[in-house]
Structures are given as structure tokens and as C-alpha cells.
Amino acid sequence: MTSLIPILTLLIFLPLCGALLVFALRRSDAAVRGVALAFTLAELALCLWPLALTGEKAAGAPAGFFLYQDAAWIERFGIRYTLGMDGISLVMTILTAFITLIAVLSAWQVKERAGLFFALLLALQGAVQGLFLSLDLFLFYLFWEAMLIPMLLLIGVWGSGRPVYSTIKFFLYTFVGSLLMLLAIIALYLMHGAQTTNYTFALPELVRTTIPYDIGLWLFAAFLLSFAIKFPLFPLHTWQPDAYCDAPVAGTLMLGSLLSKTAAYGLIRIAFPLFPEASRALTPLIFVVAVLGIGYFAWIAFAQRDMKRMLAYSSVSHMGFVALGIAAWSPVAVSGALLQMVNHAVTTGALFVVVGMLEERADSRDLSSYGGTWGKIPVFSFFFLVFNMASAGVPGLNNFVSELIILVGTFRVAPLAAAIAFLGTILTLVYTVRLVQEVVFGKEKTPLELKDLSLREAGVLAVLALVVVALGVHPGPVLELFKAPLEVLVRP
């Protein structure tokens, strides 16, 4: 039956259809929200379906893939419409569907051009899903660029602060990176074609290309640069605090929780497997920027008065662990990095949502506006504390597990890098408890009328908190899904 229903195509086009429908209904806010919610829920349900199929092997698929779809598209250039799902893609698609659902729910109050807003959210979701499923490099690039358009509009139109400046900065950075990646893709395509006379963008084919060492180094560097910008890695991050801060909450959520993951995914799925030698040569560089970033960003986060800016720096600091695990390129470390991607998306996303809720109430993101919320809005404060503790790596909550796996996995390859990176977690705690202290504890700094969470808000946060705890207590099933694909991808 599964071969009759093109699940993978549906995963991409269901949100896109939803986007069109939402846009068509833009006259009525209620209809827009309802339809957007219905489509995100349907998408999540559809993502969960393949969980039952993981044992199977799809016909014609590369090793490890249990769903596969392949069709000729632009035959003249050897561009094919190839989608595949293995354990890694599965987890990433579920994550995408989940985060989009949270984004839709947290954007419930958006009044200004709500139809376009939700349409863009859904379109963005479709593009991200496509990226996680593509097995054709051209298709991957297409989705990589397609993500950018709704994201730019979300920041530019609904942003606050200096949205145009932030949008342009974000665009310029990512566009430069993308351009380099495209050139590298084309070069690879031509080289492979010249070697085999089979001009193709198919990733499983391209992996077999023989690449001279010095050319490989340049091509890998192009991919790395492109991914490092979106990650972002030190020192290519300066677009990020501005974009995160000025975007509306749902936009920040998509940007911080999902778009940064596409870069990490690209490294794991494409850049490292394509260029094993070059990646090994540049590994020390990645270690250095990852370790430097973890400490540097955590340190800077401490100095921020704007909560969203603090979280933006916190977000990149945590992404440093993902980079660390990928750079170590051992099965354990990469599985930790993948799990950290999920955990980072959930925890950091939850923090952006929860700060957004506070901002909605008091129209301020400045730390000095708050204080003593525990006495006034205890439910809010409870969730605020839980997510912050998860971010600080308290065991029993999600981030701890992935950071531990990354530490253990990386330590075997690069003990010094792992040890220094973990010294950075002291700095993480320093800014986290500062944030908690200034908001939750102490005395109220300015008198504010604060209402505790509404049912919708409490529901959103409760779901996020449950995921945070579940992934901290029983991450086994997720790790199990990574096992088979990593055995193929990461050859020790």
C-alpha cells in the first residue's frame, strides 16, 4: 500500500497546498487560522506514519532508505526528482512538522495580513521538508533557496526594530553562501560527468566521484562556508542576532529551530560524505570555530539586556555542540549532534516562544522591565524555568543527553576540543541563571499588569515541556532511528 501513496511528495506538497488555500481564504482571520492549524496537524500525522515503515527497504533505494521516490525531471541536465527517507530524514521531518505546529499556535494573535503570514509559514514548511528529503543535489539546492523567500518576507513584513536592515543583512550573507554552494555543485556535476559520462545530480552517484585532493578542498570549503553561514558558526554569525531579534516570534522559531538545522543536515548528508579527505583536512578548523563559538557566544549572551538577543546568542552557542559532534565524525558523536539538533530546536524554540509571550504582555524585552514573576504569574514562571534549565543542561531534561553523547563521542577523537567545549557549559549556566534571576526572582522592577497564561499558551508550553522531558528521560527510540543511516554515512 505504501508504494501506492507517495508519502514523500505529499509531505512536501501538503503544506504548499495549505499555503495556497490559506492565502485564498485571507479575508477571514478565523478561517485562516483554522485551516493553517488543520494542515499543520495533518502534516504532523503524515510524518508519523513512516515510523511504522522503518523496517522496510524501498525498491531501488540506497542503503538505509525505507521510502524512496525517483522520477526524471529535467532529463537534459540529468536533474531528477529523487526523494528518500531514512531515519535521519524521518526525525527531521517530524521535527519540522512539530515546530511549524508550535509556530502556527504561537502566531495565533497575528492580525496584520494573517492570511499571507500563515501561507508563508506553510510554504516555508514545505520547502524545509523538501530539503530534508532531497537526494538530488539540484533539488536540494532548489529547496535551500526556496526556504529563503518566505523567511525574508516574514522578517521584512512582520518584523520589528529594523526589519529591512536585518532582512538585507540576512539575505546578503546567505546569498553569498548559496552562490558558492551552487558553483561547487555544478563543478562536481561536471567532474562526475566527465569521469563517467553520466551527467547527474544524484547524491549516491556523486559520492563515488574521484576528486583530486586540492580541488576537493576548494569544493568542500564552498559547501562549508555556505552551511557555516546558515548554522551560523563563528565569525559568520553577525546577521543572526539581528534577524532573530527583529523577526516575529513564529519567524524566529522557524529560523532558529529549523533553518539552522538544515545547515547541520547539509554538512552531515552532503558535505562530509562527498569530500571525506577534504573534510578530514578541515576538521581542525571546524573544531576551533565550534569550541570558540560555544564559549564566546555564551560569554556575550551574558552581556545582553534584550532577552531575545540573549537567546539568539544562546542559540548559536548551543549550535556549537552540533558542529563539534559533526566535526568529530564518529558514529557516536554524529548521533549526539543529530539528537542535539532536535533538542536545540525544541528547547531554544520553546524559549523564544515563552519570551514572546512575555513580550506580548508587557511590550518589552528588556531584562530590567521584569522581576519577581513567580509571585505574579506562576504558571508562566514554571515553564520559563523548565526550559531554561533544559538549556543549561540539567539532566533529566533533553539537552543533557545529547551534549553528553557529543562529549563522549568527541573526546575519543579530540579530547582537548571536547574538554574546552565543556568548560563552556559553565558560561551557559552563568547567563541562564542570570536570565531566570532577573525575570523570575527578585522584586518587580517596574509595576506591570501581567496576566498568567491562557489555555492556548499553557497548552503549547505544556506540549513543549513534555517533549523536553520525554527526550531527556527516554531518547532511546530517536537514537535508534539514527543508527542505520549513520552506519552507512559515517564509515570509521
Partner: protein, 625 residues
């Protein structure tokens, strides 16, 4: 049956804590109180049942936590004499303190948060003790730190309390990172994170590696057990409610470092350098804590510094390889220090939250039960002969003496000197708080129950020595029980040696008592007069904890804050961001183009973006053709 007992031992306080945390504010107060107490006593009952069913060291795997390739972390527990004696003590002491808390926190509206954290703490502490794999131990280790953080800052509306909580959390995190790094290293070396397996594989590794591991574990212990140089958080931790100080910052959590080192001694004990580092840390900290306690005016801070000092003794014992002696002192100390803190809680409650010992006096007659219990506790702390504290402290000193060598003999003398100071400050406290003229107290019905709780602890402290009598008195129960631990053989002394050393220790303690009597008993009025003046010189140095706080503020905290601002403004914005902006502006015409762009609308952008994409596609087409 053992797995069931252990499961419920952990599950009961966990469920109690979660229930209070999630639904506590909706439940009636009495229900929350009963629930919190019942779960802990239930957990204690399970510990007793487990002790009854105990036949020998055993690893019990309950479930899987996570696994990735060869890194597999099960939820498995290890029951051996060490963990068994710890869980029984923890269950009992925490149970009593829960009951005490019901009355102490009677007027506080935030009972749900309080009991939720207290219950979660018990769960975390038991996990720490029972965990067989290092990550599980770490779960408890960090869990107790988290509960401690929130409980120190329980009265959060005073920023000082919240600051104290934050200080404790961050300072101990330094140790935690050392533990994490040691854990990763252990896995690299042995391919396992099981404590029992690693303990059996120490001999495979060169001595230098074992020494480094030992130092990392020592740093971890320094944080949690408030040893030098990471001890600065514990005195401030007294900002929490007094039962919290009794339970977390005296009886249980702060001994976790000692427990960790004792647990891993089979692994790290083969390194003489590591052992020496542990004993020196312990010896110095014992001395440091005792000297600081001499000059404190706050009742709870005296006890806090005495805790630092007593844990120093335990570390000294572990460093001498004497796990039994260290655990013996750990258990007896838990009883008498909980007793002292709870007694202090009675005094503070009766004195309308006054904590300055120079403003107290005469409580001997007005609070007789507290007085007699507190006296027992102080006698134990001072090591007055035949009390529990006397035997336990002496077994550590004996082990240190028998270990031999210049270093350990010097440490023995330092320990003896510390014992003298300890006896002196213990009775300084007694004379100032309970001696002198009339004392007016505020009585409440809660106070009666609170005082009753002191009695069992006083009995345990007083007769705690029976747990492990010296061999000339027929030998001890604990030594026999601990004989199965895989620890290197210790030298044993002759009966004469033991007797001589104990007589010396007894004389030292009585000497301290005598001096305290002359200075604070007979000379009370004079001391009270002196206390009006501004403290200066040595006294201020001791009262300020050797100025460690000031030092850290100067060399760590201030520079850290300043650098954060500098990095954010000057480096991140000023250099990195500006250089990127400059780069784009500097590319001549492109820069001007960007300039025109940035004035326009996003739509302009997207059009040029699409144009760029089209251009690339054309190029591609041209290539393929």
C-alpha cells in the same frame, strides 16, 4: 524483591515531588504536607526492606536510559554496604526533616513549591548514591544541585537569597564539568561508564592517567562538598530556610563529594599523588572551616563553616584510604549536624528570626529540650569522649596516623589542631546561645513538635559511636559490614596505639571546652562588650572567610562582567560586524548597489533574487548545451 524495593525507594519521592510541583497549588495544604512526608518515609521503609533483603553487592538494572552504538547507559543501581548505609541514613534524616518542615514552614504560603523541591531533592540524592553508571550518578549529582539552587533562593523576593542560590549553582557547576570530563575520559579509556567495571580496571592504566582522573574527581568533589578552593558558596547557602540547610547543606548533599571519591577509590586509590591531593585538600579545608567558624556571629554561618570543616575531615579520611572511617564520620555527622541545624531552627523560630549569637543567651532554661539536644550535637562536633563524633573523627585521625610518612603525620597534627579549634568554637556557640541570663522566647505549638524531632537525632548522635567501636572495645559493626568493599588493605594499629591516640584526642577536645568556658562562659560579659566594637585584623579576616569572596570578586567576577560587555560591544559589533559591513560597502560599485538596495523595499530584493536565480539557470543550461 530487591528491584521492587529500589524502584519504589526512588519512585515515591519522585512522584511526590512531581505531584506537588504540577498540582500542589491546587491541593489543600494538609494533603501536600502528608504526601511529601509519606513519600519520604515510604522511601525510607523501602531502604530498610532493601537492607533486610541484602545479601551481597549487587547490580540491578531497571531500564534503559539511552544508547548510541557502543555507548549504552542503562538505568542500573548498585547496592553495596556503602550505598546501603547511605540510603538508610538519607531516608531517615530526610524523613525527620520533612516532618520538621511541616511545622517550620507553617506560615509560608508557598508550601507546594517547597515540598516539591524537597521531595525531588530526596529522589536526586538517592539516585546519586545508588547510580551504577556515571551518567546516572551525574543525574542525581546535578539534580541535587538544581534543588539546592532553588531552595537556597526559596525566598526569592530578596535578591540576596537569589544571589546565594545562583552562586551555589555556578560554583558547583565548575566541579560538575570536571566530573563530565572525567566521565568522557573514562569512557575513552575503558569503553564503559559503569562504576563497578571501571573500578576493576584501574590497574590497566598508567599511574599518571589515574592521577589525572583522581584530580578531576577531586575537583568535582570540591564543588559539591564545598572544599577549598570552591567552598565559598556554602556559607551563603544559609540564606535558605533552616530545614533546607539541615538536610541539604549539612547532612546529605554536601557529603556527595566524599561519597563520590569513596565510591571510586578502588579506581583512583592506586595513585599516591591523587590520594595525597585529596588528603591535603581535606586537611586544609578542615582547618580553614574551623578557623572561620571561630569568628562568625551568625548562628547558621558558624554551623556552615563547621560543616565545611567536618567534610574536610571526611576527605582527609578518604585520602588516607579509610573509606570505612570516612563513611562512619559521614553518617554520624549527618545525625549531629542535622540535629544542630534543626536545633538552630528552633532557636531562630523562638527568637523571631534573630540569628546573631551575640543577641542570644539564657535559652538553657527557656528551651530545655533544644538545649539538651543542642548540647549533645555540640559535644559530638567537639569530639567530647564517648560521643559518636568522638569515635568517628578519631577513626579518621587514627587512619591518617597509621598511613605514615611525613605528609600524613603533618596532616594528623593539623587535624588535631583543628579538633582543638572545633571544640573551642562549638562551646563558644553553646555558651553564647544558651548561657548567661534570662532569655525571652516566642513559643508556638509548632515549636513543641520541632523540638521532639531533635530527640531521635540526639540519641543517634550520642550513641553513633556504637556503629563502629574501635577494635580494643571489641571492633565495630560498620568495619565488618564494609569488609566486602574492594579497597586496598589498610595498616592496622595495635590496641595500645589506638588507646593512646584516643586519649590524646579526648584531652584535646576537653582542652577546647575548657578554654571556651573561660572565655565565653566566665568572660561572657566582657565578650559581649567587645562584640559592640568593629571587628578588625585577624578577626575580620576569619569572619570574612579569609577574604576568598573578595578575591574571587576581584579576579573572576568583575573581569568576567567587564569582558562580556567588551566582547559584545567592541568585538562582536565593533570588529566582526563592522568588518563585514565594511567589506560589503568596500566592494566599490557593488557597495553602492547594496546601498541603493537597502533603501528599497523587500520586493525589490526578491525580484533581483529571482533574476539572479534565472541567470544561474541560464548559465547552467549553457554549460549543458
Amino acid at each position: 524483591m530487591l528491584p521492587i524495593y529500589l524502584t519504589f525507594m526512588l519512585l515515591l519521592p519522585l512522584l511526590g515531588g512531581l505531584t506537588c510541583a504540577v498540582a500542589g497549588r491546587k491541593l489543600p495544604r494538609a494533603l501536600v504536607e502528608v504526601l511529601a512526608c509519606a513519600t519520604v518515609w515510604g522511601s525510607f521503609a523501602c531502604a530498610v526492606l532493601a537492607a533486610a533483603a541484602y545479601t551481597g553487592p549487587q547490580v540491578i538494572t531497571l531500564a534503559d536510559w539511552f544508547a548510541s552504538f557502543d555507548l549504552a547507559i542503562p538505568i542500573s543501581l548498585y547496592l553495596d554496604p556503602l550505598s546501603l548505609s547511605m540510603v538508610v541514613m538519607i531516608g531517615f534524616v530526610c524523613g525527620l526533616i520533612h516532618v520538621y518542615s511541616v511545622f517550620y514552614m507553617r506560615d509560608d504560603e508557598d508550601y507546594a513549591r517547597y515540598f516539591a523541591l524537597l521531595n525531588l531533592f530526596v529522589f536526586a540524592m538517592l539516585t546519586l548514591v545508588l547510580g551504577e553508571t556515571l551518567p546516572l550518578l551525574y543525574l542525581g549529582w546535578e539534580g541535587v544541585g538544581f534543588c539546592s539552587y532553588l531552595l537556597i533562593g526559596f525566598w526569592y523576593s530578596d535578591p540576596n537569597n537569589a544571589d546565594a542560590g545562583r552562586k551555589a549553582f555556578i560554583t558547583t557547576r565548575i566541579g560538575d564539568v570536571a566530573l563530565m570530563i572525567a566521565l568522557a575520559w573514562l569512557f575513552q579509556l575503558f569503553g564503559t561508564l559503569s562504576i563497578t567495571k571501571a573500578n576493576g580496571m584501574g590497574f590497566l592504566m598508567p599511574g599518571s592517567v589515574i592521577t589525572m582522573l583522581g584530580i578531576l574527581f577531586l575537583i568535582a568533589a570540591m564543588g559539591k562538598s564545598a572544599q577549598m578552593p570552591l567552598m565559598v558558596w556554602l556559607p551563603d547557602a544559609m540564606a535558605g530556610p533552616t530545614p533546607v540547610s539541615a538536610m541539604i547543606h549539612a547532612a546529605t548533599m554536601v557529603t556527595a563529594g566524599v561519597y563520590l571519591l569513596a565510591r571510586l577509590l578502588p579506581l583512583i586509590g592506586s595513585s599516591h599523588a591523587a590520594l595525597a591531593a585529596i588528603s591535603v585538600t581535606g586537611g586544609l579545608t578542615a582547618f580553614y572551616g574551623a578557623t572561620c567558624a571561630l569568628a562568625q556571629r551568625d548562628l547558621k554561618r558558624v554551623l556552615a563553616y563547621s560543616t565545611i570543616s567536618q567534610i574536610g575531615y571526611m576527605m582527609l579520611g578518604v585520602g588516607a584510604g579509610a573509606v570505612t572511617a570516612a563513611t562512619f564520620h559521614l553518617l554520624v555527622h549527618a545525625f549531629f549536624k542535622a540535629l544542630l541545624f534543626l536545633g538552630a531552627g528552633c532557636v531562630i523560630a523562638a527568637m523571631h528570626h534573630e540569628q546573631d549569637i551575640y543577641k542570644m543567651g539564657g535559652l538553657r532554661r527557656s528551651l530545655p529540650v533544644t538545649f539538651w539536644s543542642f548540647l549533645t550535637g555540640a559535644a559530638c562536633l567537639a569530639g567530647i569522649p564517648l560521643t559518636g563524633g568522638f569515635f568517628s573523627k578519631d577513626s579518621i585521625l587514627l587512619a591518617v596516623w597509621l598511613k605514615g610518612g611525613v605528609l600524613y603525620q603533618a596532616l594528623y597534627l593539623l587535624g588535631l589542631l583543628t579538633a582543638l579549634i572545633t571544640a573551642f568554637y562549638s562551646f563558644r556557640l553553646m555558651f553564647l546561645v544558651f548561657g548567661g541570663g534570662n532569655g525571652h522566647v516566642h513559643r508556638s505549638s509548632g515549636l513543641t513538635v520541632m523540638q521532639v524531632v531533635l530527640i531521635p537525632l540526639a540519641i543517634l548522635g550520642l550513641f553513633g559511636g556504637l556503629l563502629d567501636l574501635p577494635s580494643y572495645l571489641g571492633g565495630g559493626y560498620l568495619s565488618g559490614f564494609f569488609a566486602t568493599l574492594p579497597v586496598t588493605d589498610l595498616p592496622t594499629g595495635s590496641h595500645e596505639q589506638e588507646i593512646v591516640l584516643q586519649v590524646v584526642a579526648g584531652i584535646v577536645a576537653l582542652l577546647g571546652l575548657l578554654v571556651a568556658y573561660f572565655r565565653y562562659g566566665k568572660g561572657r560579659a566582657e565578650r559581649m562588650r567587645e562584640a559592640q566594637a568593629q571587628p578588625s585584623g585577624l578577626f575580620a579576616f576569619l569572619a570574612q572567610g579569609w577574604y576568598f569572596d573578595k578575591l574571587y570578586h576581584l579576579v573572576l567576577i568583575r573581569p568576567y562582567q567587564a569582558c562580556a560587555g567588551f566582547l559584545s560591544e567592541r568585538v562582536d559589533r565593533g570588529v566582526i560586524d563592522a568588518s563585514v559591513d565594511g567589506l560589503s560597502a568596500g566592494v566599490g560599485g557593488v557597495g553602492r548597489l547594496f546601498g541603493r538596495w537597502s533603501t528599497g523595499k523587500v520586493a525589490v530584493y526578491l525580484i533581483s533574487f529571482a533574476a539572479g536565480g534565472a541567470l544561474i539557470l541560464c548559465y547552467l543550461a549553457w554549460l549543458a548545451l
